[in-house]
Symmetry: C2
Subunit: 434 residues, 2 copies
């Protein structure tokens, strides 16, 4: 089989094929079409030379089709779409799917740069994944918050407090009006803050805060570890009355995440996904794997909440357009790309929507802008934006909750601040971005 | 705490600190020193604003020190070394360690590009990891091959053969003289090639090949999947008499890999690590995570064999200098950097050495060059370079084994080919690169 045979610009993918979309820059001296063909080959059935063990039957049945090659934004670059026979994959095995279409190809000499922009999952592959157990509706029902954005904080400093201090900061945040409190991504079980003790103490104060406020309060405890230990930690949270566990999905990896989603069929807990390390893959527009791709994989496996950024409102790099597209993709039942988008059509076939999490450098003054851009179906998380308050976490939290209430009611923050001291203090400190 | 406090160029790290080395390009308008300080903060105890929950005691005890900032290769770029108090980490928890020092920082607005070049692991963190069970010596003992390079193939096409065809191709490769046969990275359990059936049939023919050749033969079966299913698959291989399992370590992820290494204490099998997807992280010299870092993490967790490239001899992109440095790092008991290297000093404290795997576009004619560059402590794997032979896999394998024997004996391939038909055929087809 000639490797150019992989390119067929007249080919129409069938509805059961998996489609991958790539941005690529061929290596010097390599034609774009040839590079596309080599990507298709290396991600499926091909190798660098003709082999005696390949048969025309196998090639005919399984070879993928590069069916679209458009000009990319870089010099000599292209955007290619490749349709793959679903039998090339083990449905339900995310590591295997990625080893194929996001594996060796990133190391090929034939390309200088390569970015996986999106994957369209066909129904028969999709149905082997579980998707979120709760999703947006389930989380809202659990928290008894119908329409407003959920608000929360991350216990800060990221690492450094002992168990009692940690639980106390969480309590103060809940008492100030926040719905959820989470561990930071690098807090697991430290010498001075052991997992089990922290969970027990924090959930005890969660109960106290619920009683005192009459509101549902959630603690999103970070179980990030080796898989069996993650199971044990999730069991322990459940035993202490917790309803959430949190995973750093990229440093843990897809296999461990799938295992925890399966295990959750026993626990029935909400899964909160932190994306630490994503920027190593997603940030370069010319190389790596897009956040859209990672977000879709996470929804398919079944996280209930996922960090996607703050639409550039906060401290992290981000493209508002891209993040909104990701929000639409993972919060809706289908995604229909608009003109100019590099995101593929996707029906979600009953896989539940994921609640997006906005986090990273947020303060109360940003709330209205954030909601205006991202809508109300978010968890807005403020770290330093809560704990900055000189009188303590509770007062920072009050300012944030006031901002959420004001923004939900459509009242300008500056207006609401006239009668709400803590919001006024936050605005005096940080301002209100336009 | 002023965030600039993280920089102290007079600081000398203590021997128990973890050190991370980064290449970075600050964002426009951000000073290099400030960007370094922000990386140190975001990867440990800091956030974007002063907070009431931080105490001078915590800051004093736990804050990391940026103790070296040198000029990088790019404009306005730098190379920074940061020393971290080991209490910032959960020793033995690789996902947590990476969530700290390879997590959020890749998404910070303050940097345009950021690459984690290396991690120096201190003894107290190192000793919580298991390291390889077999390592180089263990693998050589198992295979009864004392000094020559091990040679092997990947069953090709990558995906497409049924179970019987797969087992037959493996048998032919062993009969041609190869030591090891492996699944390709995207072969797991397919509709037309089910895992269990493939394993049973292939190991049966492995036994036959051992009997007929009098040599030890190994089958490296790919268990890549969700963690519990990986355990089941490894159990099944063991039950069928297999001695190896293979994992796509990056698409599986660190958590699943650690789980399988722990589980292997029961199975006592050799772990072969494939690095599919690494290029998405490693390839860009200015952003992501270096292959050196990934290789060290894999050794620490405990893979016995790891793909590191072919020193640019084969089809994959690679820098020979970098790959040789990685080889030294993971095959030796200590690494002492030479001048100009961006790799940190590392003692391995009894953690066993990993056997490196050279794979990707190799053919028999490349063998001498490959061994000259990479030495004899390698597994040289030829895919298309075995199955290309028009008379079939066995003859391609014979050519490869002849090349290995010649190179080991120091006989030029062209010389040896005069009396060895299959090597001659391979050289006639592909040549001998200078």
């Amino acid at each position: 089989m000639n490797r150019y045979d992989y390119v067929d610009l007249k080919y129409t993918p069938s509805h059961d094929e998996l489609i991958a979309e790539y941005y690529l820059e061929p290596a010097k001296g390599v034609r774009l079409e040839k590079a596309c063909a080599h990507i298709a080959a290396e991600s499926s059935i091909g190798t660098w030379t003709k082999i005696s063990t390949m048969s025309p039957q196998i090639a005919h049945k399984l070879k993928p089709h590069v069916y679209s090659i458009k000009k990319g934004f870089g010099a000599r670059s292209g955007i290619a779409k490749i349709a793959y026979n679903p039998e090339l994959f083990e449905a339900g095995n995310m590591p295997e799917i990625l080893s194929s279409i996001a594996g060796n190809i990133f190391g090929m000499k034939d390309v200088e740069n390569l970015k996986l922009l999106d994957i369209h999952f066909p129904p028969n592959i999709m149905k082997k994944f579980k998707g979120p157990k709760y999703g947006i509706e389930g989380v809202r029902k659990l928290l008894k918050v119908k329409t407003r954005p959920l608000c929360g904080t991350i216990v800060k400093p990221k690492v450094g407090l002992n168990e009692e201090q940690h639980a106390r900061v969480a309590y103060e945040a809940w008492m100030g009006g926040l719905d959820v409190v989470k561990d930071d991504e690098n807090l697991s079980s430290m010498s001075f803050n052991k997992f089990d003790k922290r969970i027990a103490l924090t959930l005890k104060l969660r109960d106290k805060a619920e009683k005192e406020t009459g509101e549902k309060k959630m603690y999103m405890a970070n179980v990030t570890a080796e898989t069996d230990e993650m199971k044990r930690r999730a069991d322990y949270i459940k035993k202490c009355g917790g309803e959430y566990f949190m995973i750093d999905i990229l440093t843990v990896g897809w296999s461990g995440l799938q295992t925890m989603r399966n295990y959750d069929d026993k626990l029935n807990m909400v899964i909160h996904a932190h994306r630490a390390m994503h920027g190593a893959l997603t940030r370069n527009p010319r190389h790596g794997i897009s956040m859209m791709t990672l977000a879709k994989c996470a929804r398919l496996i079944g996280v209930d909440q996922l960090h996607i950024g703050t639409a550039a409102v906060g401290k992290m790099y981000g493209s508002p357009d891209e993040e909104l597209e990701i929000e639409h993709e993972i919060e809706e039942h289908a995604f229909h790309p608009v003109h100019g988008s590099h995101t593929l059509e996707q029906e979600w076939h009953g896989i539940k929507p994921v609640l997006v999490v906005a986090s990273g450098g947020l303060h109360a003054g940003m709330t209205q802008k954030l909601i205006k851009i991202m809508g109300k179906n978010i968890v807005a998380q403020y770290g330093g934006g809560v704990h900055w308050h000189p009188r303590g976490t509770r007062y920072g939290a009050m300012g944030v909750r006031q901002a959420i209430d004001a923004a939900t009611a459509g009242i300008p923050l500056e207006e609401y601040a006239k009668t709400h001291t803590e919001l006024r203090e936050a605005i005096e400190k940080f301002g209100v971005p336009k």
